[in-house]
Symmetry: C2
Subunit: 122 residues, 2 copies
């Protein structure tokens, strides 16, 4: 078992047991930026309400009050969540008079959900 200690009698107390594994992980992992982006996407889908919204918009274009009725939460709550999804680029809307029709912005999210469903249901 490899055991190393940097600056043993100083302040530094970093313990590194398997240096080469850490190196390998560093080499293979996505950049910090990519990690942050990816995890923000997963976080957005990591809430039942938002996941329901995204599933609903996968096939059908819906307005805010439709979604509110479907989710059984306030229209305000839906609007807030839609804003988060829109800010992340997962959702877009078209406007017809007073009504905002929301849909998924592109297929990436739908694909992601599909593969999630596939993998998880095994």
């Amino acid at each position: 078992m490899i055991q190393e200690r940097a600056c043993e009698n100083g302040i530094c107390k970093v313990r590194v047991v398997h240096t080469e594994k850490i190196k390998e992980a560093r080499a293979n992992s996505p950049s910090e930026k990519k990690i942050d982006y990816l995890s923000s996407i997963f976080k957005a889908l990591g809430d039942p309400s938002r996941m329901k919204i995204v599933f609903a918009l996968k096939d059908v274009e819906m307005c805010v009050c439709d979604l509110a009725a479907f989710l059984d939460i306030t229209e305000s709550a839906v609007s807030h969540q839609l804003r988060r999804l829109k800010d992340l680029g997962l959702v877009k809307y078209r406007r017809d008079g007073q009504i905002y029709y929301y849909t998924l912005k592109d297929d990436h999210v739908a694909e992601l959900l599909k593969s999630a469903l596939n993998h998880m249901s095994k």
Copy 2:
């Protein structure tokens, strides 16, 4: 534009604009149970630290202090996060003396991450 109101002059103020769309969404969406499960998985990956952990464990078996060094956070913090991942069934460990070697529990998560990377990088 279809506009319906149930219990107009009562307490109920549910507004339903497109009944058929809501029906369709209901028909096509996964069950509440599945939504909860799926969103909990996404939530688990919706944090940079946990996502880094999962990416690291994708290829290499690592112990807690390796991960702590890799992530540059406390071993305690890593341990807490590993527990969450383990409770969700995303991660497992084998023990060799005092050292716990963690890996991904199965390929589902790795696959999910892979498709996420693919879809998002376009």
